[in-house]
């Protein structure tokens, strides 16, 4: 299977001054296979969104390499990068903040065409925009309206239209459904899945809703304090989670079924996420881990393959 995006030892630190540093992403490696979906999950503050913004070069990586369709884009200058950006588009969490309130929907969806000099012909632009609107389930009559006239779900459809108009190969979805109502989430997820099948799109799907991530993803990476602690096919991670953090995360999802909810044995994670400014030594999860051993406080576990593709960073499996 060919690889759409490869990230090797990606690190992103934000300096705070006085030598203090936020370790947002530390030594992260993963691959995104063409036409597949990789889900990234973790608590807020674990660095998921920083990954999204660093692989798209919105943030400059501190170290490591990013390969887009085989090309190393890590230190490419903006001019050479620009044509490649067409291949990679993004959808954000907040459809209220990510649409310009003073532009019509037509201009919003057409903006990527202008930015990449695809066409300046008004008629052609209109046609492409109308096609996109139809694709995301909106009508031509919506083109002249402004973002505030739409509901959250409709706005997210506009964001999707804008992301897909350049026919990208890969779409980075940073919590695309978290801000939406449950009944609308399913509409958007079904739409994203259909587009993937029709256009062989590759998704990096970032979310904290684990049941949704399992549903949309082929592979799943679990992040904790800037690091990947487990990585596998989504089936394996949900059926046989290895890392204590993954187990705890799965154990804390409420089950929409009262009988099962009462029956299950809970493995609860105590406490809060430690600060990424001064992450714990050794395994970063040891401060909250119920299976902590002496070695966990001293030696950082590496992400190692256990069973086929299933990799985990934990001394319990060393």
């Amino acid at each position: 299977m060919s690889i759409m995006l490869e990230v090797k030892n990606l690190t992103k630190h934000f300096p705070l001054g006085k030598g203090r540093v936020v370790h947002a992403v530390d030594d992260l490696s993963f691959v995104l296979k063409k036409g597949k979906t990789l889900g990234l999950v973790g608590e807020s503050g674990c660095g998921k969104s920083t990954v999204a913004r660093t692989v798209t070069r919105i943030y400059e990586p501190t170290a490591g390499h990013i390969f887009l369709d085989g090309q190393d884009i890590t230190s490419m200058n903006q001019k050479t990068l620009k044509p490649l950006r067409r291949k990679m588009q993004m959808i954000f969490q907040d459809p209220y903040a990510s649409l310009n309130a003073r532009m019509t929907v037509r201009d919003i969806i057409a903006e990527p065409l202008k930015a990449h000099d695809v066409t300046a012909n008004r008629k052609e632009i209109d046609e492409l925009v109308f096609d996109m609107l139809a694709l995301v389930g909106l009508g031509d009559e919506h083109a002249r309206r402004y973002a505030h006239e739409f509901s959250g779900g409709q706005r997210q459809r506009i964001c999707i239209a804008r992301a897909l108009i350049l026919r990208p190969d890969i779409v980075i979805c940073d919590e695309p459904i978290s801000a939406l109502d449950v009944s609308i989430q399913a509409q958007i997820v079904n739409m994203l899945k259909d587009f993937q099948n029709e256009r062989n799109l590759t998704y990096l799907f970032i979310a904290h809703d684990l049941s949704m991530v399992r549903y949309v993803s082929d592979d799943v990476g679990v992040m904790y304090l800037g690091q990947l602690v487990e990585y596998s096919s989504s089936e394996a991670i949900y059926q046989n989670p290895l890392h204590p953090y993954t187990k705890g995360l799965l154990g804390s999802i409420p089950i929409p079924n009262p009988v099962l909810a009462r029956a299950r044995v809970k493995s609860e994670i105590e406490g809060d996420l430690p600060s990424p400014i001064d992450p714990p030594h050794g395994c970063r999860f040891h401060t909250r881990c119920p299976y902590k051993m002496d070695i966990c406080m001293k030696v950082e576990p590496l992400l190692e393959k256990q069973d086929g593709e299933h990799a985990v960073a934990c001394h319990l499996y060393g």
Partner: protein
């Protein structure tokens, strides 16, 4: 079991420049003593406005009309603003989704809870502090002594929500209204907060009105649930009953649009088409009718009656009324799937 709160025909309307927004349109329910009652609904369903209307915490432009709001047998809907002040916080306390905007940023969290105590009781400073620490321990705030001296910005979201709970519990209220208290939190932290909620209910016997958009949280926490849509209660039932036999097409739709952890990937989610109604101009009939795949003409024209389905289970749907019995049950495929799920559940136990 006796009801601590009984609400009859509550209506809340906001008069705006664009017209009257009918946020709550005739809601009646009761909350039993020591019970956790879930209120589920999407944004705009009226669930928050409804709960805030109970203690008149809505903007002065809002008009609240109620048949009655009986708290421990007394009709608080007729109370004056001053009388109501003695109810708020002391008898009926509330916590919100965003604890940061409910806490004073320039006061330590300990002092804020202590202030609450000094407002309502005569304790020495030392006793107050001891009581605050005891409250912090009850809501499982670790290192309570240290947290006492910290400011809200120094705490995580989960910790702040615990402080809010300590604040709400300071006066040992009869009812705690929790409006989406875990929505902004991570699942791990949500889990911890829900545990504290359960503890409060079992140890202190606090009756809790738990408002959320998440059916799964309700399944985990509550004993009974009201499903709200378009300012009305669409369905109410015990937790076991509503998951075993959901009767309203909206409830069925909600259940079909969330993937369960066992959901087959090849199966598609069944979203509810369209979007929620505009409450400036609510539909004449059932508010869900414009999105309901099973809607008949009568649904669009006339408000649906509340149908009693036995075992305290009610559903506001025309399809369940006498004349509609011969019709196929709505959402046949969805209900079939649900029944399969239920059988599987029983197998695994």
């Amino acid at each position: 079991m006796s009801a601590i709160l009984e609400v009859n025909n509550l209506k809340t309307t906001f008069h705006t420049g664009n017209g009257a927004v009918q946020a709550v349109r005739g809601v009646s329910f009761h909350l039993n003593e020591g019970e956790i009652l879930g209120i589920v609904g999407e944004s705009g369903s009226g669930k928050s406005v409804m709960s805030m209307s109970l203690i008149r915490l809505v903007a002065p432009t809002a008009k609240i009309e109620a048949g009655s709001i009986l708290y421990k047998g007394k009709d608080i809907s007729t109370y004056s603003a001053r009388q109501l002040r003695s109810i708020r916080g002391k008898e009926i306390a509330m916590i919100f989704q965003d604890p940061m905007s409910s806490l004073n940023p320039v006061m330590t969290v300990g002092a804020q809870v202590a202030e609450m105590l000094s407002e309502h009781s005569r304790l020495s400073a030392k006793e107050r502090k001891a009581q605050v620490i005891a409250l912090f321990n009850r809501v499982r705030i670790p290192e309570a002594e240290k947290r006492y001296r910290q400011y809200p910005h120094e705490l995580s979201g989960g910790m702040r929500q615990r402080v809010m709970m300590a604040l709400a519990l300071a006066m040992q209220p009869g009812i705690l209204i929790a409006d989406e208290p875990t929505t902004a939190l991570d699942v791990t932290i949500q889990d911890q907060i829900l545990k504290v909620m359960r503890q409060l209910q079992s140890e202190l016997g606090t009756s809790i009105l738990f408002i959320t958009h998440d059916l799964a949280v309700v399944a985990d926490l509550c004993s009974r649930v009201l499903v709200m849509y378009g300012g009305q209660i669409m369905e109410d039932a015990s937790i076991d009953d509503i998951f075993a036999r959901p009767l309203h097409p909206y409830t069925l739709g909600l259940m079909a649009s969330i993937p369960s952890l066992e959901q087959e990937k090849a199966t598609r989610l069944v979203p509810i088409p369209g979007s929620p109604p505009d409450m400036l101009n609510p539909p004449a009939g059932c508010p869900f009718a414009p999105r309901c795949p099973e809607a008949r003409e009568i649904c669009l024209e006339n408000p649906a009656p509340l149908v009693d389905a036995g075992k305290g289970h009610h559903s506001r749907c025309w399809l369940l009324t006498e004349g509609a019995r011969e019709l196929d049950h709505p959402f046949r495929t969805v209900t079939d799937a649900m029944y399969r799920n239920r059988e599987r559940t029983e197998d695994t136990l």
